[in-house]
Symmetry: D2
Subunit: 295 residues, 4 copies
């Protein structure tokens, strides 16, 4: 397929690389030039602006947040100049509201819009092992199924509207944050009774909680090592806020998410905004008067 | 070994059966007679009272809670009449305080005390697949290592004091309750946006959260089927309360556990005390005004 | 003074009436005509549009929320056509962000902007007993001091920026919501132990908590009568959300406000969005399985 | 009347003094001798042990907590040796459970038991301005009405069972803690936006919240001066815990109390256990990264 790709950050670059390797013709655009050059060396065409990347059969978008999506897609008048028959595939984690707005705008231009956010950190993207959550019209998803197949280990179709995929992604990220907080509190309790955090977390994450989310963050909490950040705490706050906003719109109270929001804020106030979001563990330890680092 | 066993309930009976099958000589006692007879048919000796079961090399205890342990062990004057050289192995989920008290009393009688609470529901106990968490003096645990090996898939040694095992068990149960609440909230959010609970939970529990705790309770939350109870909600409240009490003693705030406690109370007030503790999902749905059951 | 007034709702109408009675010349505008006519009969001039009311020495604004302020002030191009030398006085409860934006826009037109939100329900406004919280440049406030004096019992100057007044109002409304929730929980506890809510609340609101906020809402909670609404629950949610947003911007966790937000959402999901915000008491009673109404 | 009095601490001493001044014959006992001597100089008889103070028509008790009441009343075999016809008046703040137990024990000895906890700090007790909350049989309260009248400004009869008074006291103390936390959070928010805490709190506690509880603690929070303690933070935790336990027993969730409990623990972990319970304000400021003290 002829595929455009907007956004070559930590996640976008490895994903775009997989698209290329799968044999698609790729046209890329990124705010800064360096990653475009890298993809260029691998065979991609570099577009002069976002609209120029929207000339093929599909346009994939992996941008940081609502603002970036607005700036690039609406500000860059991508829809207005997109090729007829193109499918828009937004891989970014954005609000339900933006998903609705972009889908509505796309529809005005007769462009099918698929929300396809992904679960997985950059190293998972590099291995092509992402889980892709797709929401949108059946026919549209059918046309890009193999394309999504090229970037992840599995595509989960969760409904025939883009917002279905959006909410699954936001709810899923809330679940990860919740798992981190749970381990942070439980590990503080164990530590206060003389059981080393690492030992405690090994027992639980090898048994009842033997799953990727618990094992990845369990390790960071065990070592109390929150840098470098795989996913920055302030982005964690953003995603939990988006889940809370979605909940508010539909009158769904999310008490755990509310606690998380407060703990993210506390962490940022203490200077941990650019640490990994597992730094919730620092806040939990500090609240209990426990040392921040193992001796 | 010559092994005594007190408490043949949902958990105790299958565990005792494994002890017997592993070739140990077993003397059992239970408050009601029926399960003793069952074990008797399998070759166990039936003791007339708790003290009579404490004549061998080890005494295993699997009772419901602090009160039952107090009544049987202290009320039954088990320590006073125990055989010299016996090792006490308490498999029950009890408070840190009771663990300390029983360990201290045992020490006065020169009896080594091992806390060895287990992770796993009755069907896991039947398959001999429990995870056993052992805390106590090294020498004592060494003497009963093969005995513990006969009842579970693995023994995790978490410290040289019984209370270390106690706290790991309580913190672990808090983590399960927390996982249930997290899924309950997230599933309500997904459902409010038109994504069926079952579909949402399948995505998450097959990927980031592909672990026993999430899969077992995820299924119940997906089907909104909270009966029959594998573990009653009012016992869930008890265990979270024990974690909170342990936290209070050591000045460890547990904000998620506090939310859980309130939600358990709300559930009990609404009549769900004898349902499975995954009925936290009912309360989350009701708070959001969502139907309790799929159409 | 020559005074314009935008917004003659439950609060605006009695306030404008006091301005008129104090001897000022008043020009009013409102989205719907009826209240303009009423004020017209009392001697006010009716403006054809918002901009037409901005011809005097001061323009008072009392609109429902951020959206209404944006629509009327920005959409209505009020600043562009305002008389030179006019002072803008925004009495509305709006976000800190909007306050900043409006103040900045006013400054571009050399118009002094004073935020002057008020504490008090409509009946308090009618009696001229509001408490006015004023923030803005000293010189500007000095020019309108007597005007503010005409609508309330006292003007509290809280800083030389408009946002200072905004934050005091939002924090104050959060405190009221918090008082309601506190009484709701405490009354449920008393009731569960056989102490009638009314009796319990009388003791506390006559002694330690003998203040307007507690007495007004204590009465509604005692009678469990949440209609008609003095202040609608969904507006309570809006104000608590504005406080939370302000907190988020400055990294100030507000755990009580987070709980309130969830309880407001739960109440709205149960159909209480248009009841008085003291209907938090219904949610607290329901969570405890207590009857919603006295027998 | 012939009145005995057990417990001459910060609260007991001024209360006993008022009893004496009202013209009653007083026999006092206290764990340490010094305050007995003081009362002796004022005309009281000093009893050799608690039982010896129980010889008159009424016995007033003002002890620190459940444990002290148990030790003195049960351990001291006071009921067994009390004069026939005596009325027991327990002014202490204790658990609902202890109230039930003591009332039941008293009944076995045909001794009427009145729970009469008080609202007010030591300086209020000195001025004789306490609010007394009385629960117990009508006839019993009638007999001691003037006695209660001598120690407070008003006696509030809240039910014909002692536990009614207990729950009112516990719910009331929860309300005070809640008011402190509310002010702590709101003041942090105001401060983060440049409004001095003192100024913010003055506005609110002079208007909507012009009541003793808000004014007393508002002043401490404004000055961020939490020592010397009028009421120690660790006692605040105790009382909130008693409210939570009473809630748990009756299935009444108390989400605000749960948050308070966590914040008390956090405060104790940070070394504030012996400061005034308004030191909740320190924790709120710290969570927001705000300075602990004004510059």
């Amino acid at each position: 397929m002829d595929v455009g790709f907007l956004g070559l950050g930590h996640m976008g670059k490895p994903i775009a690389t997989h698209v290329l390797r799968a044999g698609h013709r790729l046209t890329v655009w990124n705010r800064s030039a360096a990653p475009c050059e890298e993809l260029g060396h691998l065979g991609a065409t570099v577009a002069v602006d976002p609209a120029a990347a929207a000339r093929g059969e599909a346009l994939m978008i992996m941008l940081a947040d609502d603002d970036a999506c607005r700036a690039v897609l609406i500000g860059g008048r991508v829809l207005e100049s997109a090729a007829p028959g193109i499918v828009l595939i937004n891989l970014s984690t954005v609000s339900v509201e933006l998903t609705r707005e972009l889908a509505a705008r796309a529809q005005q231009h007769d462009i099918p819009y698929v929300a396809a956010p992904v679960f997985g950190r950059p190293e998972v993207a590099q291995r092509g092992q992402l889980n892709v959550v797709a929401g949108g019209a059946h026919a549209a998803i059918a046309r890009i199924e193999s394309l999504l197949g090229s970037i992840g280990q599995r595509t989960w179709r969760v409904g025939d509207t883009p917002e279905a995929a959006s909410i699954v992604k936001l709810a899923g990220n809330f679940m990860i944050a919740s798992a981190i907080e749970t381990m942070a509190e439980a590990a503080a309790l164990a530590q206060a009774y003389g059981v080393p955090r690492a030992q405690f977390l090994e027992v639980l994450t090898s048994t009842l909680f033997a799953s990727p989310a618990y094992q990845i963050y369990g390790r960071m909490l065990a070592e109390q090592r929150y840098e470098p950040a795989g996913f920055k705490l302030r982005l964690g706050l953003k995603d939990v806020r988006l889940a809370l906003q979605a909940g508010e719109r539909a009158h769904v109270p999310l008490p755990f998410a509310s606690v998380l929001r407060d703990h993210f804020l506390e962490s940022i106030a203490q200077g941990a905004g650019d640490q990994d979001w597992s730094a919730l563990g620092r806040a939990a330890a500090r609240r209990a008067g426990l040392p921040d680092k193992p001796a």
